[in-house]
């Protein structure tokens, strides 16, 4: 009998040293029954891609508070694509101006969550992504 658990990588790219938000999300997703791989602060795009690959995660969640999302996200997407992880979706949490959201979505970010987002919303969003993925298999 198959047992399936959602596996999510929560990563903190860039140089800012605040991981409170990332930790809150990690705990909320754990409490929602997911397996959360948490890799700590200051992750390079290569480190994120490598962890996503080895851990075979369903989703990569990036917490970016530094404002550097427009430079970080494309590099991470590229590193993941190079690792043949084109099919692994990225979601972003942090302070993202509305103007940037469209650009991020063009880079292949499937969900952007601002500071006001409830953890339930993020959980439901991830569950829907995974249901879609399992439907495709």
């Amino acid at each position: 009998m198959a047992i399936r658990a959602a596996r999510v990588l929560i990563a903190k790219p860039g140089l800012d040293g605040h991981d409170r938000g990332a930790k809150i999300i990690a705990r909320a997703l754990r409490d929602a029954g997911m397996e959360v791989i948490y890799t700590g602060l200051r992750q390079t795009p290569q480190m994120i891609a490598e962890a996503a690959l080895q851990e075979d995660v369903d989703v990569v969640g990036l917490s970016i508070l530094s404002g550097a999302h427009m430079t970080l996200v494309p590099r991470i997407r590229e590193a993941m694509n190079e690792a043949e992880l084109d099919d692994v979706p990225i979601i972003v949490g942090g302070i993202i101006p509305d103007d940037d959201k469209a650009a991020l979505s063009e880079m292949g970010v499937v969900g952007v969550f601002g500071p006001g987002t409830s953890t339930e919303m993020i959980r439901d969003f991830i569950n829907k992504l995974i249901a879609q993925k399992d439907g495709d298999d």
């Binding site: 198959a2 047992i3 754990r30 890799t39 480190m47």
Partner: protein, 336 residues
């Protein structure tokens, strides 16, 4: 061979990661995949690393792996963390301490939650170790929190088991209670950069002397369940003893790691030269066979029992019409 297995054996890391998921999820294809991989296994040296929470296991695995990489050995790591019994989720954070290993294609790290399914995490870990073995890693390291029986079971996959302590972590007698000390081939007092390490080393040595470290006897009593099997030799006389060394390390200052690697190598030599490794493996296989047989028989039996029949019997036992063992005997007769 399936495409994925072929890719894995050829060295594809994506195929490896996906196969690990397939095994962990007990996917319908898991069994066939393991059967295809099995001929490729048996080459890796399997290291167990266990100890109380926060003693520095992950940091030490990081330092140890760096040292093994300097010898150009490839290393796969499975880091096991507990699943929350409340939500079924888990936070897997061991990678935080293994950042030095990132970017190294000779290393593969996989985090794993205990999940707590029937048959248990030990079976899943053993199978995942086999996948990594088949992928060609020289060493497979399994890190688990040494808190209870299931963790001890996990370590039973290993040929060399490191038990990690740290100074000032409270009552050392705890370790003995949990049966943790008995499984140690090497005892490591990590965080030796802190006060009290020598004291911890002394008390561990004293405890080892008390509990007599004859590894053979430990093994037999440890696997007490199997002691009744007739093939089990009852005297340790023909087996050379391995006395677990007690080492001091500082994972964060990278101290004592060379000595640790030397002792691991010594233990490996001890097992291979005395032929004990073959016996150890045979014993592990025996345990696994019984486990699998038990699970398979249980599945077979329960699939033949209807829920209403079980309810009827429960009622009969509850109302003292029949006693539990007689009920089981009657069931077995009916099933045959």
């Amino acid at each position: 061979m399936t495409n994925q297995v072929e890719l894995l054996v050829k060295g594809s890391r994506r195929a490896l990661a996906r196969t690990l998921t397939l095994i962990e999820n007990q996917h319908p294809q898991a069994q066939a995949t393991l059967a295809q991989l099995y001929p490729h296994t048996g080459k890796a040296w399997i290291l167990g690393v266990t100890g109380a929470p926060g003693t520095g296991k992950s940091s030490l695995v990081n330092a140890l792996t760096k040292a093994l990489r300097e010898q150009e050995k490839t290393v796969a790591i499975i880091a096991v963390d507990p699943t929350s019994p409340f939500s079924g989720g888990a936070i897997l954070g061991d990678r935080i301490r293994m950042q030095d290993l990132s970017g190294d294609k000779g290393v593969f790290i996989r985090s794993m939650a205990t999940r707590g399914s029937l048959g248990g995490v030990a079976t899943a870990t053993r199978d995942m170790v086999r996948v990594l073995d088949a992928a060609g890693f020289d060493y497979v390291i399994v890190e688990t929190v040494g808190a209870g029986q299931s963790e001890v079971d996990i370590v039973r996959t290993a040929y060399t088991t490191l038990v990690i302590e740290a100074p000032g972590l409270g009552d050392d007698v705890q370790a003995i209670k949990a049966g943790i000390l008995e499984i140690a081939d090497i005892l490591v007092v990590n965080k030796a950069d802190r006060n009290g390490a020598d004291q911890t080393v002394r008390s561990l040595r004293a405890m080892l002397e008390l509990g007599h470290p004859a590894s053979w006897e430990q093994f037999v009593s440890h696997h007490g369940r199997l002691m009744e099997t007739p093939t089990m030799p009852s005297t340790p006389s023909d087996v050379t003893l391995w006395i677990p060394p007690v080492l001091k390390t500082s994972a964060i200052q990278n101290e004592g790691i060379t000595e640790l690697v030397i002792q691991i190598e010594k233990h490996r030599q001890h097992l291979t030269e005395s032929g004990t490794v073959a016996q150890l493996e045979a014993r592990y296989i025996e345990i696994e066979l019984y486990e699998r047989l038990q699970q398979a028989l249980m599945r077979q039996v329960t699939s033949q029992l209807s829920e209403s029949l079980i309810q009827t019997i429960i009622n009969q036992i509850r109302t003292r019409e029949i006693d539990p063992q007689t009920a089981v005997n009657q069931l077995l007769v009916q099933l045959n």
